[in-house]
Symmetry: C2
Amino acid sequence: MADDAGRATPPASVTGRVLSILSVFEKSLAPRSLTEISAETGLALSTTHRLVGELEEWGAVQRDPNGRYQIGLRLWELGQHAGRQVRDIARPLLQDLYSLTQRTVHIAIRENGEALYIDRVYGTRRVPQASRVGGRLPLHATAVGKVLLAFDEPWVREAILAQPLESRTPHTHVDPVALRKELELVLERGYAVAIEEVREGSASIAVPIFQRTGGIGAALGLVDERGEADALERHLPAMRGIARRIEASVGAFPLRSLGIRPSNARP
Amino acid sequence: MADDAGRATPPASVTGRVLSILSVFEKSLAPRSLTEISAETGLALSTTHRLVGELEEWGAVQRDPNGRYQIGLRLWELGQHAGRQVRDIARPLLQDLYSLTQRTVHIAIRENGEALYIDRVYGTRRVPQASRVGGRLPLHATAVGKVLLAFDEPWVREAILAQPLESRTPHTHVDPVALRKELELVLERGYAVAIEEVREGSASIAVPIFQRTGGIGAALGLVDERGEADALERHLPAMRGIARRIEASVGAFPLRSLGIRPSNARP
DNA sequence: AACTAAGCTTCCGCTCACCGGAAGTGCCGA
DNA sequence: TCGGCACTTCCGGTGAGCGGAAGCTTAGTT
């Protein structure tokens, strides 16, 4: 199911082996030694050495002063291309929402049963943070996740609710029946709230961003401290205004496939 | 010298071929058809088909509704790991600078003779923009670039000045002698200015960010319209304050190798 | 509706790039 | 000085990968 359980089964194809090396760095951002990479992928040391060497030469990975490997800058640059259109459009609007509210704001999409955070604007004010750009969190434990679930098609919602729901804090809602009811309320009210459900001390609220083609595309969220949880709703008008503007700017192309250009747009 | 000139010379190793496919998307963010990828890499169509297929299955590339390929979300996620520490530290401080000045701010490092923009904060105010996150611009034509050159070691500066200097607008400074003099002034004053040198209508100013280990690590820049060029200097105190705070937060580890952790920090 | 063409997908046998065991190198700490 | 660990280099056997060619699918044309 997972790519590799962290041991054994080195992929048969060279491409697969190369990708399995990159996958090592998905698990944690800690730099790895050659031996560690070799162990985690199950590849022979000499093979690892050669492949990693090629990756380094290209710039996909780079070495720190101790000779350990980490994802390289070139890969970061390349990755910026993915979903660039959407982020370029959304960013200044997130910025406006931040300026208005002085609260951390973020935008997330659903990706395979998890909420994927595609951008985030925040200042130096210390608020317990759970999300990070490029990171994932459970759909059922975040405000953005609940919005993404509530407004998606029923079979998606049911598929998620059918799985065991991970409990991140004592406050995480893990009962499928109660959660289904909560999602109905989200659908009715047009927003979701999560209070300390992924991280102690942190509360958040989210509203949907719809696609022109219909259906939900993303969710716009705002984070505050637990103490401010009761006052989260006062930000709703601003959030909805920004969500509408993002919808208008994003226009026709699908958020869910993130910035991939639509049909060969006739010039 | 260059990776491939866009034709011929398919790399001998499979790894190289895979990377040359990814390189295709560095040239422009436009989605490509299989045939285009095949042509640009010089790989046989059937080979391209197989390799791209594996890349797609893993999530390194993805297809849009027309079947064209583009960099995939998984690579974007992975790329977020590179330099994450530095961006996580700098971001809220850039945000503060933006809040203070209401001007686009960005941070760049030198990477092989170009300025690489590693982060950027901006609102909806329409200012002609040249830089983008993950993008590169010539060192000699930007304020951040001039700072990066002026404060780097002399041999670096001379190496850049020895090359032919590209003219991006009629205002770009391309005379090496005059530029050397300008850089001396930058070193003396502690900041650099560029007015419409990469993009008409846009002016910018930048200050250095030093590393604890000594030497310049990055440059902090601020963008405004040409009309405001004379008033750029008034932002200097705020910029210098933020630069100092970034230096303090970044601490000991090298900016130039971007967020790679220092020695196996003894716990 | 029949025809054309361009782009994509699948197939398969030959061959050369890749694999990995083993030997070599360099660095540390004892 | 020595042993141990991590990395690097070497090299011959072999199976993964290559690419020509044949089929398939879609869109455009008469």
